[in-house]
Structure formats: structure tokens, C-alpha cells
């Protein structure tokens, strides 16, 4: 029969609940469609009319006049008329409420097969007490015995459903449906399981496969289409976002956009998905469950099971009651070296409402490990940073560090530079400051030549990633290590400058001369007006309160002043300088040294600054006299010597070694005397090191005393392989190089989430033996 000769559509049956329309077509079989909750009768329209018309199908359409789940009495009455017009091999098709009807009435209508997308098997609260979606539509008068059971089904009932959508799954999997039911699972579609069937051609092909009973063919068809389906990408992106896989979701939405998805639609989907993500744990998880998950993250991070940390973190929103989640996820990703995990961890940190200190820690770590863009994104994701001076001071050095990432693209390089300068309170011009004036004072230049540089030995714990070892070896080959001690120090003079307890130096006009990477504090700027006025001083402020930085950077930078130097010129110190500062000044000068204090601000008319740092360190040159005084003073102390010395850090709360007792035992077995330096007089500490031939211990400021030792010592340093900052951890190896010691480094894993580490005893002992025997490192 040609399409033109077809009889017009007509109503087969109508009552107060349903309308049934017959739209004759040219197909050899009939299709019975059942509308969903939202479709209402309108003339001769039926559900799925577009593919029906496009494919020329002979179709009978059921539509409910309300959301009434097609009451059985009405359908039974309509079935008589329907069966009369159906052609051989009729099949059924419905979605949601329509899917229910296709299942329920397939056998009644004499259908060969039905396709039910996201169907219910009942809305009776007694049948489905946990699916609250449709209970309000349940009417005991209409729906008695409505549940679908095996006897209702035709020979083949194909159910399309999302296996991960709990509410639809409980219907699709309901017991009692029997062998007639076959499933086609469509992950992440939630209740939108009809989506893959959009389009007349695909409907036609699926119906052909349904008639042929080829369920595997239906599965294969849908699977093959999903790569080109923007709806699939949208659905999976939404699911990814709801599960906290933010970066993955972004990538999937990007693909959906390439396939034509509207940016505005994606925007809305993302907003909803994100709300779902943030709400889901709160709704579904009881406090006990949250505590359990938090415990899992902590336990996995403690065990350094980074895969598990990454997996668990992906399931969690960054809830405030899950401490260290962002740090743990970041550390896990960095430890694994996985780009995907890093993308997820970064997205988590960007999206999380992190305490500000945590945000800085994560951003700093990313910057230190060469992930400049990720660092900037994490840092700037909190707009509150812009309005807080203290926060700006923390952010500036992170931006400076992020700029060192050579892979950072130009907009972000420019942004980081400009923003850092603005946070520092500076204008965008660094060129018109006059160069500093040379000081009339200078370091001594003894004629003796530097001795041969010390040698390095590197080993590592077995579990440690090879790239960490390589990174450390590269650090030891870097120019700042190789050139240490090679540049003669000099002294410069700054006139009419302010100095504060942070060691920052700035002019009356606000020009920064020495920033230490931070803007001048508000309190310092405010204190300028009433600042004490000093005619002259040598800069001796050590801002970190750290023994290493005091000895190696600051004290040595004052050698010109203490040698014996200009009489009466005070050394400017922090007002809260530790006791060892004044003590070591007096030892270095061989007499009490006048000092002055830098609080919020002090005005110095003539401020002298000596070169500082390992680059300028000359134990046999400019610093020889200073070091000689320490040696002499330590000799007078007559400290009992131990040939092998282990400097323990049990007295320190920083970088705590969890098994230091066990490690000390390893060293003690090899003749080491174990000692802590906390509370010991300075000269005794120096005396102990000077008396030892082999010095060992975990990385710590006690190794700064290597400066005071005669060349040729053997040093064995247990080094925490922190992520980033490995270059900084090479400081003692560099010091040994300048001082002519043989320096062994044994790298061991460090748990950055908790800030502690556990040194594997047996491999450490084996490495120590190799080092002591003079054999090569690993």
C-alpha cells in the first residue's frame, strides 16, 4: 500500500484515562507506542510520532490523560480494538511510564517483543517502597495489582536502563520478571536511557533488531554510536562531575562541545552536576560513613598507598571534616607522577573551600614541583586572597616560584610576574634604581688558595622513584652547587634605608632594596614615621630564626665586620634573635660585639651589607679568621671526642623520623655515638663535630657545623626525598663541597602529607656500610 492511499489516523479507543490512536503505515508490522508521564493526547498525535512517520510505520499509540500508568481496566477494554488492527509481528516501545505499559501489556496486546526504556514495574508503595518518585501518582482504585510479573511479559522484553542509577536499577532488576527480560545497560544515563535512541534512523535499526530478537545487536549498535554522541559525552561528564572527577568531566564536556553541544547547556549541566556532587555525600553519607572515608584517606596516605588515596579522593567532595584531603590528593598525584591524577587533584584543590593555609601549602607544593599553571590556578581560585594583605604576602613568593616552570605559557608567565609585582607593592619598572654604592669596608683577602672541593656520594632507598634520585643528582651538578665558594664576597652601602625584623630593606621613598620575596608589612610601613634612627650599622638580621641560615648566610656575611672590622659599628639583629646569634657573634669577633635591634622599622643612615650564601663562602679565604676563632674557642672547651658521631633529630618536631630509635641502633652498632644538639652549648656542638671523623644523621641544621670542621671529614646524610625543594636539601652537600668533606646522601621516602618519614633500616645500614667502605652509591 502506498503512503498516499493510507487511511487517515483515527481514535481506536478513548475513556477518561487513556486515548488510543491508530496511524496506519506502510510497514509489514505494527508498532505500539506508549507515552510517558509528560505526554498528553493532542488530536491524532502519538508518542514517537516523528520516527513512526519517517519510517512509515503502522503504529498504535497509547497516551494517558494524566500521569496514570495506564490503568489495567482501560487498557483491557482498549486491547480488543487494538488487537484487531495490529499486523503480524507487532512490537511495543515505551519510555518510563510508557515502558511500564509496554512490559505490563505486551502479552495482553499480543506483541512479539517490547523495548522499554527506563521503565517502572510498579509505582505502588507496597511494591517499591524506596522509590519515592512516583508514589504520589499511585491510586489504589486504579492500580490494584499493577506490578509487572513474568506472566504479563511477551516473549522478549528488552529493558534499557542505567545500571548505576539506583532507582531505575531496582525496577530493571526486580525479581519475578523471568527469562523474557533482557537488559541493555546504559551507564551514566540516569533516567535518560531513551537518549541513545534519538533519531529516526537509529530507532528504525533498533526496532529491526528487536523484531529479529537480536539483543546483542542492539547493544553493539548503541555502543558503536556513543563515540559520536554528544549526549553520551554530556551524560558521562555529568556523572564524572557528580563523582568528583572534575578534570575528566571537563575533558568530556569539551568533547561534547566539539560534537555540537551548546556551551550554555554544558554550563547548566555542569552547575547542576556540581551541586549534586557537593550535596550527594551530605545527603547519602551519615557522619559515621564520612568518618570512615576520612579514615581511609588518612590510612592510605599514612601507608603511602598513593593509588588508593587518589581513588578515595575522587569519591569525596572536599568536605571540611575530611582533613588533609587536598594535600593528600596532591601528594599522591605528585608521587605517582600521573598527569591524570594531578589534573584531578588540582581540580579538587581549586574547587574545594580550603582553609587559606592549606591552599597556600598545595599551591606552593605544585610550584615547587614545576607545575606552575596548576599552582597559579589553585592559588587564585580564592578571590579573597586579593583583599588581604597578609594573604598577598604569602602569595607573592608562590607566584615567583611558579614562574620558574619553563613550560608555563606566556599569558601565565606574564600574569604571575605582574601580579607578583603588584602584590609586592611595586610598580612595573625595575630599571631606574641606581646601583648600590660600594662600602668602604671589605672582606679580608688572605693569599691562601681554596682546597680541593669535597666529593659527593648518592644512594637511595629501594622504593624511591628513580626520577627523584635523578633530580637530586642533577641538583648536585647544577651551577649553584658547582660554583659554590667561587665568588669573592664584597660589601655594599645603602644610605637612609629602613630595616625590619624580617630583614627587609627599603628606602624612604618606599623603594625596595631587599624584599626576600615579600611585600613590606603594613606595620613596618606604619612604623617608619617614628622609627629609631641609627647613624650606621651592619646588616645581621636573619629572618627565618634558623641556625643554618644564621651561620652560613648571615654570620659569614659579617666576617668583614668581625675581622676585627670597624670598631663600634653595631650589628643589626632581630629583636627576638635566638641566644646563639649573639653568642656566635662574640665568638666570631673574639670580643663582645655591639648590636642594635630591628623591630617593625629602624632607619639606618649608612647600612653595610656583606655578600651572603654558599656562593661566596671561602673557609680558607675571606672567612678564615672567623672560622679560626671558632676552632680555637671549641678547642678550649675540650669536648670529649667521638670518632663517629650521629646527630639525632629526636628533639625536633619538624620532619620527624618515626623510627629514629631503630636507625640510631643501626649507627650505634657501627660505633657511632648518638647525640641530640637541642640544649647543648654552641661550642660543645662545634667541638663534637670537630672531634669526629665520620658525621652522620638525618638532614638538619646540626650539619651547619661542618663549616667549622677541618677538611676531609666523611659525612653521611639521611635525606628526606621531599617533593620539590630537593635543590634546597642539597645545601649541606654543597657546604661539604666548599669545605672539602666527602659527603654521602642517602635518599629515603618522605610522607609529605604528614610531614614525617620512616627510614628503612636494613637498606640504610647496607648503604652506610658501602659508604664507609668507600664504595660507590646506588
Amino acid at each position: 500500500m502506498s503512503a498516499a492511499a493510507l487511511p487517515p489516523a483515527r481514535i481506536l479507543y478513548e475513556d477518561e484515562h487513556v486515548v488510543v490512536v491508530h496511524r496506519p503505515g506502510v510497514s509489514a508490522f505494527s508498532l505500539v507506542t506508549f507515552g510517558g508521564v509528560g505526554q498528553r493526547p493532542a488530536g491524532m498525535s502519538i508518542w514517537a510520532q516523528r520516527p513512526v512517520d519517517a519510517l512509515g510505520l503502522d503504529a498504535v499509540g497509547f497516551l494517558g490523560k494524566r500521569s496514570n500508568w495506564y490503568p489495567a481496566a482501560s487498557v483491557h477494554r482498549a486491547a480488543v480494538a487494538v488487537r484487531e488492527v495490529l499486523r503480524d509481528g507487532a512490537i511495543g516501545y515505551g519510555y518510563s511510564m510508557g515502558g511500564y505499559a509496554a512490559l505490563k501489556y505486551g502479552r495482553l496486546l499480543g506483541l512479539r517483543a517490547v523495548l522499554a526504556a527506563a521503565p517502572q514495574i510498579s509505582i505502588d508503595p507496597a511494591d517499591m517502597p524506596r522509590d519515592l518518585r512516583y508514589h504520589r501518582f499511585f491510586d489504589p482504585g486504579l492500580h490494584a495489582g499493577m506490578r509487572v510479573d513474568g506472566g504479563d511479559l511477551c516473549d522478549l522484553a528488552v529493558i534499557l536502563a542505567d545500571p548505576y542509577f539506583r532507582l531505575d536499577r531496582m525496577h530493571a532488576d526486580a525479581p519475578g520478571l523471568g527469562a523474557a527480560v533482557r537488559h541493555v545497560w546504559l551507564p551514566y544515563r540516569r533516567h535518560g536511557a531513551i537518549q541513545p535512541l534519538l533519531g529516526s534512523r537509529v530507532v528504525g535499526r533498533v526496532l529491526d533488531l528487536l523484531r529479529a530478537g537480536d539483543v546483542a545487536g542492539i547493544r553493539a549498535l548503541i555502543r558503536a554510536r556513543r563515540r559520536g554522541s554528544r549526549e553520551w559525552y554530556e551524560a558521562v561528564a555529568t556523572a564524572a562531575m557528580q563523582r568528583g572527577r572534575i578534570a575528566q568531566a571537563q575533558a568530556l564536556w569539551a568533547r561534547a562541545a566539539e560534537l555540537g553541544a551548546s556551551p550554555a547547556v554544558i554550563d547548566r549541566q555542569r552547575e547542576r552536576a556540581e551541586q549534586d556532587r557537593d550535596r550527594m555525600p551530605v545527603i547519602r553519607w551519615q557522619p559515621a560513613a564520612r568518618r570512615r572515608m576520612a579514615g581511609r584517606v588518612q590510612a592510605a596516605a599514612r601507608a603511602e598507598d598513593w593509588q588508593r588515596v587518589t581513588r578515595t579522593a575522587a569519591r569525596l567532595s572536599p568536605l571540611p571534616e575530611i582533613p588533609r584531603l587536598a594535600q593528600a590528593a596532591t601528594n599522591a598525584a605528585l608521587s605517582l607522577g600521573s598527569r591524570e591524577a594531578l589534573a584531578e587533584a588540582t581540580s579538587l584543590a581549586i574547587g574545594a573551600e580550603l582553609p587559606r593555609a592549606t591552599r597556600f601549602v598545595v599551591a606552593e607544593r605544585l610550584a615547587a614541583t614545576g607545575h606552575g599553571l596548576e599552582s597559579i590556578a589553585v592559588l587564585l581560585a580564592d578571590p579573597a586572597i586579593a583583599g588581604d594583605r597578609e594573604a598577598q604576602a604569602r602569595a607573592a613568593p608562590i607566584l615567583a616560584r611558579a614562574q620558574r616552570d619553563a613550560t608555563l605559557s606566556w599569558p601565565w608567565q606574564a600574569l604571575a610576574g605582574a601580579l607578583q609585582r603588584r602584590l609586592m607593592g611595586g610598580a612595573d619598572d625595575a630599571h631606574d634604581r641606581p646601583p648600590p654604592e660600594p662600602s668602604p669596608h671589605a672582606f679580608a683577602r688572605p693569599a691562601s688558595k681554596p682546597g680541593p672541593p669535597g666529593r659527593h656520594w648518592v644512594g637511595a632507598a629501594p622504593r624511591l622513584s628513580p626520577h627523584v634520585v635523578e633530580e637530586f643528582r642533577a641538583t648536585l651538578s647544577a651551577p649553584h652547587v658547582q660554583l659554590a665558594g667561587s665568588v669573592a664576597p664584597s660589601v655594599v652601602l645603602l644610605r637612609d634605608v629602613y630595616v625590619n625584623a624580617r630583614g627587609q630593606v627599603w628606602g624612604r621613598d618606599g623603594r625596595l632594596h631587599r624584599s626576600l620575596g615579600r611585600p613590606i608589612a603594613e606595620a613596618s610601613l606604619a612604623a617608619m614615621a617614628a622609627a629609631p634612627d641609627l647613624p650606621e650599622a651592619a646588616l645581621g638580621v636573619e629572618p627565618h630564626g634558623n641556625f643554618y641560615h644564621w651561620v652560613i648566610d648571615t654570620l659569614t656575611s659579617l666576617a668583614w665586620r668581625l675581622d676585627p672590622g670597624p670598631e663600634g659599628m653595631p650589628v643589626l639583629l632581630r629583636e627576638d634573635a635566638p641566644a646563639y646569634v649573639r653568642e656566635s657573634l662574640d665568638i666570631a669577633a673574639g670580643a663582645p660585639v655591639p648590636t642594635a635591634e630591628a623591630g617593625a622599622a629602624v632607619l639606618v643612615r649608612r647600612l653595610h651589607l656583606g655578600d651572603r650564601g654558599l656562593r661566596h663562602l671561602a673557609p680558607r679565604g675571606a672567612h678564615a679568621t672567623l672560622l679560626g676563632r671558632f676552632a680555637e674557642a671549641a678547642r678550649r672547651e675540650a669536648v670529649p671526642a667521638a670518632e663517629r658521631l650521629y646527630i639525632s633529630r629526636r628533639d625536633s618536631g619538624i620532619r620527624r623520623m618515626l623510627n629514629e630509635e631503630e636507625i640510631e641502633a643501626v649507627f650505634a652498632e657501627r660505633g657511632f655515638v648518638c647525640t641530640t644538639f637541642g640544649g647543648q652549648p654552641l661550642l660543645r656542638q662545634i667541638g663534637l663535630l670537630r672531634g669526629a671523623q665520620v658525621i652522620a644523621g638525618p638532614h638538619g641544621a646540626g650539619f651547619a657545623h661542618l663549616l667549622f670542621c677541618d677538611p676531609g671529614r666523611q659525612v653521611f646524610e639521611l635525606l628526606p626525598a621531599t617533593l620539590g625543594h630537593l635543590d634546597l636539601r642539597a645545601c649541606f652537600a654543597t657546604l661539604s663541597r666548599v669545605c672539602g668533606h666527602r659527603h654521602g646522601i642517602w635518599l629515603a621516602p618522605f610522607n609529605q602529607t604528614f610531614g614525617d618519614w620512616r627510614v628503612p633500616a636494613k637498606p640504610a645500614a647496607a648503604a652506610l656500610d658501602r659508604f664507609l667502605a668507600g664504595r660507590a652509591g646506588t
Partner: protein, 152 residues
Amino acid sequence: MGDRTAVASEVGDILDLVPHAGPAPERGAPAPAASRAPAAAPARSPAAMAERAVADGTAETVRETATRLIRMEIAPGARIASARVFARAGRGEEALAVLLADPATFGSPVAAVVLDHVVQIQGLPRPVAALAWHLRRRLREEARRRKAAAAP
């Protein structure tokens, strides 16, 4: 001691070569030496500069203009307007970099007009897209909070 220039290079690690603190140049005041060259170009508003760069379309011009806008001291409104030009032209990274280069603008609620466009742009690096999204979300939440607080 050597001459002043030699000393300056020798002590480079002591004295950070950071720019001077102090107020930004006033409008109409002569530009400092380093920024004199760009200032010699015909006077144009930042948004107009961005428009011209976007219309030109070459990567070099866009890069040069965006970098200038990032570094220039410009009023927050002008910064946001120029960032929006880049965003509307689909240049999300340039837009964000111009917007975020000044603390006065990246925490501003008005920044949302730029971010609204940036979040619609596909193909941005993941951290950039996430940053734009969450900044916008936070600015919106902040605006809602402010509105609720202002309500009688």
C-alpha cells in the same frame, strides 16, 4: 672595590632586583623609562587595544597586546573591559590573565562578566577552565550573600 656597576652585579643575590614600591604614576605624568616605549603608541583605551588585537587576529599581536595589558597599571574597570573583549573573542587564557593580573580586579564581583564568557570557551587547559569556573561560582555566592545581607 670595583666600580658601582660591577658591585651591583656582584651583589645581585643580596639586593633583589625587584621593582620599586610606591604609587602608580598619575595620569598625565611622564611614564617611567621602561614603559616609555609602549606609551609612545597612540593613546587608546585598554578595551580598544584589545578590540584591535582581536580584530587583527594574529597570534603575535594578541600576545603583545595582552602582555601589555597584563603589565600596565590601568583602572579596574578598564582592565575588566579589556579582559571581556578577549573572552568574547574566545581567547580565554588571555582574558583570564588580564583579569587576574591585578588584585583589584580578580576579587571584584564585576569580574563575573568576564568569567561568564570564559567558562563557555572550550579547549582551555584543565586548570584554567577549573579556575574560571570556581572563581565565577565563588563570586556568585559572594554576590548572593551580599544580596541576602542587604535584604530587609
